[in-house]
């Protein structure tokens, strides 16, 4: 019949949508709220949540501080350089996290020059909150750069030219015209980076099995105590993910 292809297409899309939604609903419905809340206060859960939040906020802050200048430059430069630098920024996004952790170990691992130097000065770059932050920043900061770059690009350059032709310096133009207009996009980038950082598992597990972040805690609970014991932490992480979506809209 005439609309068969439309029905098939509709069904395919609906199946995929269910595949995203059903497991999440299953998780929420499978756990009695009382039990989850009770387990939320267990010391290992509180410790993992504290570690994760501390590290992720730090990573997001570092990503913002270092990422915004790079994003602005990328948004305003043209040609081959832009293509190459953008590719380098996207690289950590397409690199498997476990490989990201490996390559970071070759630079900041305990037997490397940098790792040894830092350890000699009392700062452990692996098996520490610093290690977690290093892993999360590598994996999550490209979100700030890529999203903020798009946000800066969406600010019409003629607005910047207009501001400058009115006698304002580049810094004033950036502060009062470009940044306020790009801000919603930048905020989205920071939110994405935070979400990616707090959920980071592959790179973190390579650099810092201890102190445990929430994803690592889930893995450990799952392998040692069974799936049920991993639920409380998972619920926190799902909550953060849903909150992220709300901010993004």
């Amino acid at each position: 019949g005439r609309f068969d292809w439309l029905t098939v297409a509709f069904l395919l899309g609906a199946v995929l949508l269910c595949y995203y939604l059903v497991p999440l609903l299953a998780l929420v419905l499978s756990q009695p709220p009382g039990v989850v809340i009770q387990r939320l206060t267990r010391p290992d859960v509180v410790s993992a949540a504290t570690t994760s939040l501390t590290a992720s906020v730090t990573s997001a802050a570092i990503a913002t501080l270092f990422g915004l200048p790079l994003a602005y430059w990328l948004a305003r430069v043209d040609g081959r350089v832009k293509t190459i630098v953008t590719a380098i920024v996207v690289l950590p996004l397409v690199l498997p996290p476990i490989v990201s952790g490996m390559v970071l170990l070759t630079v900041v691992g305990p037997n490397t020059f940098l790792g040894g130097l830092a350890a000699a000065n009392g700062l452990q770059l692996t098996r520490s909150v610093a290690g977690i932050v290093l892993a999360q920043t590598f994996v999550a900061s490209p979100f700030v750069v890529v999203t903020a770059k798009a946000a800066f690009e969406s600010v019409d350059r003629s607005l910047e030219y207009a501001s400058q032709s009115l006698g304002k310096s580049r810094l004033t133009t950036f502060r009062r015209v470009t940044l306020p207009l790009a801000w919603p996009g930048i905020l989205a980038g920071i939110t994405l980076a935070f979400a990616r950082a707090i959920g980071e598992f592959g790179a973190t597990i390579m650099l810092a099995y201890y102190p445990r972040t929430m994803p690592v805690q889930i893995w450990v609970s799952f392998t040692t105590l069974g799936l049920e014991n991993a639920f409380p932490v998972a619920v926190i992480l799902v909550g953060i993910a849903v909150a992220t979506l709300v901010v993004l809209n």
Binding site: S158, L159, Y161, A162, S163, Q164, S165, L166, L181
Partner: protein, 347 residues
Amino acid sequence: MLEVNSLTKTYDIFDFGPVDLTVDDEVLSILGPSGSGKTTLLSLIAGIVDPDGGSISLNGDRLNGCPLQERRTGLVFQDGALFPHMTARENIGYAATDRDRIAEFASLLEITDVLDRRPPTLSGGEQQRVALARTLAADPDLLLLDEPLASLDAPIRRRLRRELHALFTSLEIPVIYVTHDQRTATALGDRTAIVRDGAIEQVGSPMTVINRPATQFVARFTGNENLFDATVVEQREDTALLRVGNIRLQATTAAAAGTTVTLCIHPSRIQVYTPNGGDDPHDENTVSGTIDRWLTEGNEYRVEVDLDDAPITLTTTIRPPSFDQLPLETGSSVRMTIPPAAIHLLS
């Protein structure tokens, strides 16, 4: 005074310049088709784009290499380029060298009642007024405008055109106004420059570029649709005798006998008469022909006439009062007089 000398800029698909231009405390309108380099010229003068060669100086100071924000050059963009996150008042205040004068500029441009609204809620005409007020508030030594009226509806455009003419004259700084609309260019400019392919074809008073175009391109772009080759038969005092097909025409101009010239007549300067009507014209410079087609254009009729004595179609425009007296039908015979002063020659 703005002086531009041998200004050039090379793009992948387009070479701009060399352009030479001097603008006193006057309004120079720049007229040209899209892609002719009008916006490039403004970008070069404003400092948005760096030239490959040539110099720009304003009141004796060289502008080359001087950063955008130090050129004291006001630039009004086609879309206004208002800051969308600021109200009209904040937009003007952002630029104002003296915040007390915001009210003065608002009053001058009649935007006092929209000062606390944001640009997206303003009409096109209001946005342009705010953009102009913002630029003037920065007290520029040179004003550049890039087709600010292009997107407005006809009645508002007509009104702003008149107001801007008075405003620009009162500023007493060089003003460059870029447009692709002949009416706007001639209404606003003390002088008009016609540009094509990145070069200036002619600079002169509005009436000069329309009635004495320097090239065929200028002629076509200013509406001189009647362009024909003619032979100069004789030159007598200040009158040239021309031949086109079997038609002989007198033109109040100088030309060497025996040469071939291009004859240029603006449609509006040809007078049309009914054959054997009471108001029959004298024989001089009178031609006869048959109406090929006609159409209404605004409040006038545009008529194309195939001439009897030459393989030529002459376009003329007729205004209603005289139209009522004409048998305006395809195939009708008409007689037309071309005033000798209306014939312009291109070499």
